[in-house]
Amino acid sequence: MTPELGHFALILSLWVALAQGVLPLVGAQRNQPQWIAIARPATTASFLLVAIAFACLTWSFYINDFSIAYVAAHSNTQLPTMYRISAVWGGHEGSLLLWVLMLAGWAQAVALFSRQLPDAMVARVLGVLGLVMFGLLAFVLLTSNPFERLLPAAEEGRSLNPLLQDPGLVYHPPMLYMGYVGMSVAFAFAIAALLAGQLDAAWARWSRPWTTVAWIFLTLGIALGSWWAYYELGWGGWWFWDPVENASFMPWLVATALIHSLAVTEKRGSFKNWTVLLAIAAFSLSLLGTFLVRSGVLTSVHAFATDPRRGIFILILLAIVVGSSLLLFALRAPKVSLGGRFSLLSRETLLLVNNVLLVVACGAVLLGTLYPLIIDALGLGKLSVGPPYFNAVFVPIMLPLLVLVAAGPIARWKQAELGDIVRRLWPAAVVALLAGIALPMLAGEWHGYVALALALAAWIIAAIVLQTIQRLKAGTGNPPPSWWGMQIAHFGLAAFVIGVAMVGSYEEERDVRMSPGETVTVGGHTFKFLGVEDVRGPNYTAARGSFELSKDGKMLRILHPEKRNYDSSAMPMTEAAIDAGLTRDVYVSLGEPLEGAAWAVRVYFKPFVDWIWGGCLLMSLGGLVAAADRRYRLKARTATKTVATGAMAA
């Protein structure tokens, strides 16, 4: 009964979403208050219906209802409750349902927290979200119904891929999807503004906090995924340029460009068209990512689905979204005003350069990700595009960006003077030079690559310190939260660069054959192998190693890496043990048992690796501080009045 209820709720939500998509849009265009008023209740209804469907599926997982094909394929009675619940999104159908739930949730949030916006605007935003939701719900119901019954019911489920049986599955996909799907809100605001012919500073101000919040989730989601891969996959990398990673990274690059461009649109009224294009692009790339992952066109760890119907459906959806929004854009863009004049050297220009670099970087990643598919489709053979390519093309595009991060916030709007920037930044240049020369020598060997990266990081950090001092000294009062948010996020970027450079240049790795009592030393840390014992987990047996970690003769702790054999899978899983620290991780993983009590063991010393994710965390924190700026929470009446005049001006 429960699955039928869920299925029914999902079908209902499809039609409610259609109503939510069509009526308020028509109402807003014709200025009919009754139709406009449908937007909020319809949004709440569709959200509740999708939530009911999701809850039904979750319940079916919880009670092990193996008469549902999807449950039987992804869960079994031995699976711990936590993973049984998160197995809901461990496969294709359920992860799409999560996608839709997030979308409905974002729409509901807009409905709730937009009291200060004019009703017609909210109706348009919710309407666009409703249409997107209709498309995705149709996709779920027609090609990927999670409630499909299995007759006869299975005795026992097949269980979840052991790789996914990790706390990472609990938090990574929801976080990532929140970000992915959150781009739809930025998109909806842009389309709503185009429909209304109201591309102005007010629109930028309204859509800015939403875009920032979605960007925060995307940043966190990607960082968590990277961290998960680092500790779970057992070979110690943190980014593999896997097509699925790229699928989430491309929207992030464009979203980052978007939040910068929105700043210009809000503050100076410029780049409106460009900002709209970026919002469309960010959401389209989210959909493209969904297509790449869900259609199974990629050979990668995440691609579960191999049903071509699904791919074609998303491709059509993508074509409709991109085509119709670009058409709308082409119709409206020529009427949009240019905004204020600015000189060739100004903060506007620097932010445009930032945008060009980010978009080019995204283009390069897109090219590398799609190239094998295109070549294959053209019958020109099969080729692989992997990390060596991406590193070679991506890093050089990013370097000038790191240089500009320091200068952008110092440059004045409208007209900046080179002399002024130089006067304010030269100490940072000195610090950067010294850091580039000295730090690599302190850390170990001097390499040009690491020197450059550390110099750039020092340049950014020194510039932040200088700006903070200058700003506080200027006596213009405490800077607004958005200013602090920017500085925190830029500091996070510098921390990220330090992490990448340090671990890339100074990590150490040893593959050894260890018998109990033997030791191996890596990066000044000594592991003593104490032995391996068999332990029984909830649904696996594991060989659990014990290693005594010590430094300079001082015992730090015992580490327990595991080699697990899940009951439901023949593939042994490696669970690395990590001692994390501010300046280094040490990492040990068990390989294969060798003769006697000996084991193949791999140990790593990874200096500053946690700065990579710490940097992402700081970027998100910066976003949070900026989004919390209270100037985004205008009083209702003022905003309405503003919009009325805005409409006249447009």
């Binding site: 990398g237 593959d511 003769g553 005049t645």
Partner: protein, 152 residues
């Protein structure tokens, strides 16, 4: 005497720590280093997007053994890669070779960057000709003031 006795376990302990340094898994660390270097840029053919260096699949192990053999024979990195390409095709290379099929791949980002810069410069020029000197109309200024008032 007591003090001396107290030192004994410490000495034993440190002896225990120093005595048994684990042996490297590889017979020849130099060969292994080159193997990791080469295999890191090769694709494991039966895995889902994993490098030959990292994979635990049987085929990957066989191929690593074979590559080790080639290294010991004194083959250069390029020769090893050429051999694998001749057997498995371009699919095995994570760093695609530069040839007509991949000109666009390797040149693409550069073209994009140049196009982006040209577009940027021409936009800035055109814009400076078109944009009005006063960015805001009176009405817009009033709106801005309203917005600002709402903030405080």
């Amino acid at each position: 005497m007591k003090r001396l006795l107290a030192l004994v376990p410490a000495a034993l302990l440190s002896f225990g720590l120093l005595a048994n340094e684990a042996a490297p898994l590889a017979e020849d660390p130099v060969v292994e280093q080159r193997l990791v270097h080469i295999a890191g840029e090769l694709r494991c053919l039966v895995c889902q997007n994993e490098s030959l260096a990292g994979s635990q699949a049987d085929l990957a192990k066989d191929l690593r053994r074979e590559v080790r053999g080639l290294i010991k024979e004194g083959k250069s990195d390029e020769e090893v890669k050429d051999f694998l390409v001749s057997r498995y095709g371009d699919f095995v290379l994570y760093r695609p070779q530069v040839k007509p099929e991949t000109y666009l791949l390797w040149g693409g980002p550069f073209i994009l960057l140049v196009a982006g810069i040209i577009a940027l410069v021409s936009y800035l020029r055109r814009r400076n000709r078109l944009a009005p000197d006063t960015p805001l109309t009176e009405e817009e200024k009033k709106r801005a003031a309203d917005l600002l008032k709402a903030d405080s």
